[in-house]
C-alpha cells in the first residue's frame, strides 16, 4: 500500500507551521555579498541555481565587474567629481548634467564631499529595491534644489547592483547625481553617522562638514523636506 506511505509521512511531519523569520537577516546577507564581495561558499552554490554552466556564470560575473570598473573609470575621467567647486556656491544640483546619473563610487563621493566643505549638503541614501525611496527621490525635486541654491544635493545608492540602480534611475528621475557606495564605507566616510535605521535616509551635513541630522524614512512632501533643510542647515 504505497499510497499509505505518503499519508504516514504527512502525519509525521515534524515542522508544520513556521512563521517567517525577520527579513532583516536577508538584507544583511545581501549587504555582505554586495558590499564586500564576500561570498560564502553557500551563496556561490546558491547562485548556481542560475542553471547556467559555472564557467558561463563566472565569465558573466567577470564581464559585469569589468564593465562596472570601466564605467566608473570613464565617469571619473569625465572629471565631475574632481572639478573643485567654489565652496560657498555649489552649482544647483538640478543644472548638473549628472543629475539622475550614477557618477562614481565611494572615492568619488569622498572627494565630492571634501570639495563641498563650506557648503551645507543634503545626502539622500537610497537603493533600487527600496519602494519608498522612489517617493523620497521625488520629494527632492528640481523645485527644492532651486529653492536652496546654496545647498548641495547628492544621492548615495547602497546595497545595490549597478545594473538595477541604473534601471531605477531611468524610471525615477532625480534632481541630483548619485554615488554608489557600500553601506559600511558610507558610515566610515561620515563620522557621526551611526548605523542607518533603513532606507531611504536623508543626511544633513553642515558647512563644517559635520552630520547635524539624520532623517530615516521617506519625506511625505517637499514641504516637510524644505522645513528640515531650513531647520538644520540654515542656508
Amino acid at each position: 500500500m504505497s499510497s499509505d506511505v505518503i499519508e504516514r509521512l504527512r502525519t509525521a511531519n515534524p515542522v508544520r507551521d513556521c512563521p517567517p523569520p525577520p527579513i532583516d537577516a536577508v538584507w544583511h546577507r545581501i549587504e555582505d555579498i554586495e558590499v564586500s564581495g564576500r561570498r560564502s561558499g553557500a551563496a556561490h552554490s546558491g547562485l548556481r541555481v542560475r542553471r547556467r554552466p559555472p564557467l558561463g556564470t563566472a565569465l558573466a560575473t567577470l564581464a559585469m565587474v569589468a564593465a562596472g570598473a570601466v564605467a566608473v573609470a570613464f565617469l571619473a575621467l569625465l572629471g565631475h567629481p574632481r572639478r573643485p567647486q567654489p565652496p560657498a556656491a555649489p552649482a544647483p544640483a538640478a543644472r548638473q548634467p549628472q543629475a539622475s546619473r550614477l557618477v562614481g563610487g565611494q572615492p568619488q563621493l569622498a572627494q565630492r564631499l571634501r570639495s563641498l566643505h563650506g557648503s551645507p549638503v543634503v545626502v539622500t541614501v537610497w537603493a533600487s529595491w527600496c519602494q519608498p525611496c522612489g517617493e523620497d527621490l521625488h520629494a527632492v525635486d528640481a523645485t527644492v534644489t532651486r529653492e536652496f541654491p546654496a545647498v548641495a544635493f547628492l544621492g548615495v545608492d547602497t546595497i545595490d547592483s549597478t545594473r538595477r540602480a541604473r534601471a531605477f534611475l531611468a524610471r525615477t528621475a532625480t534632481a541630483f547625481p548619485s554615488y554608489q557606495t557600500p553601506m559600511n564605507e558610507l558610515t566610515a566616510a561620515l563620522p557621526g553617522l551611526g548605523r542607518l535605521a533603513g532606507l531611504p535616509t536623508t543626511i544633513y551635513i553642515d558647512r563644517a562638514g559635520r552630520v547635524v541630522h539624520v532623517s530615516p524614512g521617506a519625506y511625505a512632501s517637499a514641504a516637510a523636506l524644505e522645513r528640515d533643510i531650513t531647520t538644520y542647515l540654515q542656508p
Binding site: S2, L9, P14, P20, V26, V49
Partner: protein
C-alpha cells in the same frame, strides 16, 4: 517591491523546509541565503516561486553539507548543534527514511511535508514531470518495503531489533 512580496509569501515555507532538514540556526541562515540568491536572480524567479525557492534551498543545504564534510572543525562545532526534529510520533519512519537514497527521500518529503504537487516537485528538482512520476512511484514502493520489513522484524523480535537486520 518584489523581493519583499516573495519573502512575505514564502519565507515561512522555506524556513519550514530548512527546519525539517537541519538545525534551527542553520535553517535560518539557509533562508537568508535563499532570498539573497532570489534577490540577485529576481528576473529568473518564476511567477509560481515556491518550487524555485525550495530548489534553491536544496542546493544551499547540499552545499552546507559538503562544506561540513570538508571542514572537520566546522563539522565538530555543528555536531553539537541540535539536528532537525525527527518525524513526529513515528520513530520507525525516521529510520526508514534514512535507508532511502537522497533523491528518493527528497521527492517523497517535498510531496508529503512541503505539500507540493508532483509537477511542482519536478520544478524544484529540475527534472521532467515524467521522470518525477516514475521516481515517485518507485520511491513510495521502496519506503513501503523498508517499513514492511522492519515491522515484520519487530513482530518476530518483540524485544527489539538491530537496524541492519531489517534492511
Amino acid at each position: 517591491m518584489r523581493l519583499e512580496q516573495l519573502f512575505a509569501a514564502h519565507a515561512g515555507a522555506v524556513r519550514a523546509y530548512a527546519r525539517r532538514r537541519i538545525d534551527p540556526v542553520s535553517a535560518d541562515d539557509t533562508v537568508s541565503e535563499v532570498f539573497a540568491v532570489a534577490w540577485r536572480r529576481l528576473d529568473d524567479v518564476p511567477e509560481a516561486a515556491l518550487p524555485w525557492l525550495l530548489g534553491c534551498a536544496r542546493l544551499v543545504l547540499a552545499h552546507q553539507h559538503r562544506r561540513r564534510q570538508r571542514d572537520a572543525a566546522l563539522a565538530e562545532r555543528l555536531e553539537t548543534a541540535a539536528g532537525p526534529p525527527p518525524p513526529q510520533g513515528d520513530p520507525l519512519l525516521g529510520w526508514a527514511l534514512s535507508q532511502l537514497r537522497d533523491r528518493d527521500r527528497e521527492l517523497l518529503l517535498l510531496i508529503a511535508w512541503e505539500g507540493l504537487e508532483p509537477a511542482q516537485a519536478a520544478r524544484a528538482l529540475g527534472c521532467s514531470q515524467n521522470a518525477v512520476a516514475v521516481r515517485l512511484h518507485r520511491a513510495r514502493r521502496r519506503l513501503a518495503a523498508v517499513l514492511r520489513r522492519a515491522e515484520d522484524r519487530m513482530e518476530s523480535h518483540p524485544g527489539g531489533f538491530r537496524a541492519e537486520e531489517a534492511s
